[in-house]
């Protein structure tokens, strides 16, 4: 019976979502306070019902209720608890439920933290989020019900895809979804503002913290995915330009443009309609991401749906959301006037150029990802876009990006003088360039222009950010949290670029055949293969190798890469073993058994690869710190005290 309660709970959530998406918006149009005040309770009720459904599905996983088809397909008796809980979002139906749950959490959060906003706006924002929710609930109820039963129930289930049984990956989808779905808040604010025809700077101030939080979560989600690919797929790469990765990268690029554009709109009231367009774009790309990942257009570990109805539904939903919001934009944006005036050499221009760079990057990824799908859909042929295309595009794009990133934050709003900036920047520029180009000599005996320029760019970004910080501290100027957040995020970019430049150039990767007792040297480390032993795990059996690492004849570590076979499915799984370090990773993964006890093996030396993820973490932390800035909280307090005094007046 309990799973039926889950299903019923979803139906109730759907009914509430329909109310949430219709009543408040009519109320806003008629200026009817009663109808508008329906929005908050409806948001809360929707969350309770979706949350209940989610809890029931999780329970079915924990207690091994294999009469639920979805549980039987993704869990079994020996699956550890962690992977039973994460199994909920391990396949299509459950991941949709997670998406809907996160959307309802964001909706409640907006309802709770918007006391200081005008009621009309809140009603519209919540209603728009309700519409998105209706779309997803319909999809779930009609094409992908997670509570579907099978009869007779199997005694034991299949299992969660072994590749997904990894702690990093257990956290990857929730983080990614919090980010994706978080952009729906910015989207809802944008659509609400268009509906109301009131697009002022306060609109940007309200939606900015939401967007930054969503962006920070998305950053963490993508970084976790990249770390998982490195750790789990056994190839030792951190980014593959796989369409599925690109699907999460496109909303990130649009979101990054959006948080910068929101800054100009909030501070100076410029680029208003452009910012609205970006908010629509960022959320649309999140939906496109869902579409290409979930619809089965791309066959990969992520693509669950093979039912063509699902693909058609998502496509239709996509058309309604993107088409509808763009039509609204076309109709309303003419009324938006950007009043702020600025000089050509100003912070505004720098941020505009930033936006051009990020949108170009998103377009480059979009073309590389969608063109093969288009060609396939038209029946012209089967093609794929090779990795070098993306590599070339992003090395090109990073040049203006890094140059701007150093200089942009120095330039004053409204207008600045070139000589002032040149006086500050020239020295740093020369120092970065010289140090950057000299740095490769530490690793090799020659000039490496590409790596050198990458390092110079990273240094330039870090030094300009740090100089600005030091100057501000010396002048005893107030350091706001949003400023510190920005500095941290920009330093994160610098770490990220250093990591990429060093790893791509100086990694040593060897695929080789090793007999027990033999050793192999790479980058000054000796990898000695001591042998293979059968080792049982909770729900798998592994061939585990022992590899001793020696440096200058001294033992510095032992690696235990495994080849696992999981019970339910017969295919082997590679589990790499990595000796982690701030400046280098030593990586070993097993290939396959060859003759005479020998194994094929991957042995890698990966210098500074951790810096890539550390950089992402810095960026995300920067986002969180920026959001905690006083001005977002102060505003609330002022309004509340104002309202209180008004209430006191009324009472007296």
């Amino acid at each position: 019976m309990i799973p039926e309660f889950g299903h019923f709970s979803l139906i109730l959530a759907f009914a509430v979502a329909v109310v949430l998406s219709i009543v408040p918006i009519i109320g806003a149009a008629k200026n009817d306070t009663v109808m508008m005040s329906m929005a908050r309770p409806a948001a809360l009720t929707q969350f309770l019902f979706v949350g209940l459904a989610y809890a029931i599905l999780t329970r079915a996983f924990i207690v091994h209720d294999f009469s639920v088809l979805y549980v039987a397909e993704n869990s079994n008796m020996v699956q550890p608890l962690l992977y039973r809980i994460s199994g909920v979002w391990g396949a299509h139906e459950g991941s949709l439920l997670l998406w809907t749950l996160i959307l309802s959490v964001w909706t409640v959060a907006v309802a709770a933290f918007s006391r200081h906003l005008p009621d009309v706006l809140v009603a519209r924002v919540l209603a728009v989020m309700g519409m998105v929710s209706v779309g997803f609930l319909t999809f779930m109820l009609f094409t992908s019900n997670p509570f579907e039963r099978i009869f007779p129930a199997p005694i034991d289930g299949n299992q969660l895809n072994p590749l997904l049984q990894d702690p990093g990956l257990a956290m990857h989808p929730p983080m990614l979804y919090i980010g994706y779905v978080g952009f729906s808040v910015a989207f809802a604010f944008a659509v609400a503002a268009l509906l109301g025809g009131k697009l002022d700077a306060t609109w940007a101030r309200w939606s900015r913290p939401w967007t930054t939080v969503a962006w920070a979560f998305l950053t963490i989600g993508i970084a976790l995915g990249s770390w998982w690919a490195y750790d789990e797929l056994g190839w030792g790469g951190w980014w593959f330009w796989d369409p599925v990765e690109n699907a999460s990268f496109m909303p990130w690029l649009a979101g990054t443009a959006l948080i910068h554009s929101l800054a100009s709109t909030e501070k100076r009231g410029v680029f208003k309609s452009w910012t609205v367009l970006l908010a629509i774009l960022a959320f649309s790309l999140s939906l496109v991401g869902t579409f290409i990942v979930r619809s089965g257009v791309l066959v990969s570990v992520h693509a669950f749906a093979t039912d063509p109805r699902r693909g058609v539904y998502i496509l239709a939903f996509l058309c309604v959301v993107i088409g509808g919001s763009l039509a609204l934009y076309a109709w309303r944006s003419a009324t938006v006037v950007s009043r702020g005036r600025f000089d050509w050499f100003s912070r505004e221009t720098a941020l505009l150029l930033n936006n051009i760079v990020f949108v170009t990057a998103a377009a480059a990824v979009f073309v590389g990802t969608m063109y093969p799908l288009l060609v396939d859909a038209l029946g012209i042929g089967k093609i794929s876009v090779g990795r070098p295309y993306f590599d070339v595009m992003f090395s090109l794009i990073s040049i203006p990006l890094l140059l701007l990133l150093g200089i942009g934050p120095m330039i004053r709003w409204k207008g600045d003088s070139w000589p002032r900036i040149a006086r500050i920047a020239t020295t740093i520029f020369i120092i970065s360039l010289v140090l950057g180009l000299l740095a490769p000599f530490v690793f090799e005996d020659g000039l490496n222009i590409k790596t050198g320029l990458g390092l110079a760019g990273a240094l330039w970004v870090a030094l300009t950010a740090l100089r600005d910080l030091v100057v501000r501290i010396k002048q005893h100027r107030h350091l706001s949290r949003s400023y510190l957040g920005m500095v941290l995020a920009h330093l994160g970019v610098s770490l990220f670029v250093i990591g990429i430049a060093i790893t791509t150039t100086y990694s040593v990767e060897k695929d080789l055949r090793m007999d027990p007792g033999t050793s192999y040297n790479i980058a000054g480390y000796e990898f000695r293969f001591d042998g293979i032993k059968k080792t049982p795990g909770p729900n798998y059996v592994a061939n585990q190798a022992t590899i001793t690492i020696l440096k200058n004849k001294e033992k510095i570590g032992v690696l235990h890469p495994q080849k696992r076979t999981y019970g339910g499915r017969g295919n082997p799984m590679t589990e790499a073993s990595i000796d982690i370090g701030l400046f280098r990773d030593l990586y070993a993964a097993l290939g396959e058994p060859l003759s005479n006890g020998a194994w094929s093996m991957r042995i890698y030396y990966k210098p500074m690869i951790r810096w890539i993820w550390a950089g992402c973490l810095f960026m995300a932390m920067g986002g969180f710190i920026a959001v905690s800035d006083r001005r977002y909280r102060q505003k609330v307090k002022q309004r509340i005290s104002f309202r209180r005094s008004r209430e006191v007046l009324v009472e007296s």
């Binding site: 895809n161 590749l163 056994g234 066959v299 990969s300 570990v301 693509a303 000089d343 050509w344 050499f345 221009t349 150029l353 051009i356 170009t360 480059a364 073309v367 590389g368 063109y371 042929g381 089967k382 093609i383 794929s384 876009v385 090779g386 990795r387 070098p388 295309y389 070339v392 595009m393 090109l396 794009i397 203006p400 695929d511 080789l512 055949r513 499915r569 295919n571 082997p572 799984m573 590679t574 290939g591 396959e592 060859l594 003759s595 094929s600 093996m601 991957r602």
Partner: protein, 152 residues
Amino acid sequence: MRKRSQRKLLVVGVLIGVIIATALGLKAFNQNLLYFYSPSQVKAGEAPAHHSFRVGGMVVKGSVKRDTKDLGVRFVVTDNAATVKIKYTGILPDLFREGQGIVAMGRINPDGTFVAEQVLAKHDEKYMPPEVAAALKAGKKLKAEQRKNGTI
């Protein structure tokens, strides 16, 4: 007047930048388009001789032969109508198996052997790479036609 000309300069600069980026991007795009060919198409000589491409099909049972000294491996893929010999040096993916669908990326030698730089089997064993599924379907059709025309 000066301000206006400066602004013009900026706009022109950005435009030139975008044009250069687009041109370089298109060039990189064209150079890195990888077409997929089925074994039948390769046999018919449709695949490019001097450019990388992808080929895919089922790994023929009993065709996988390993070198005893290094990581070299040779195998044959088929779409049930034609076959292609593939040579690869390195570690095969976990899901590589005889009788499974795979996709290989590389170039074809004058002797007709395909030298793979990369061999892909999809993450989940339930699925067949879509290109391979389509190639197998086409191969089946081709074979049926050949039978009908009495060419086999």
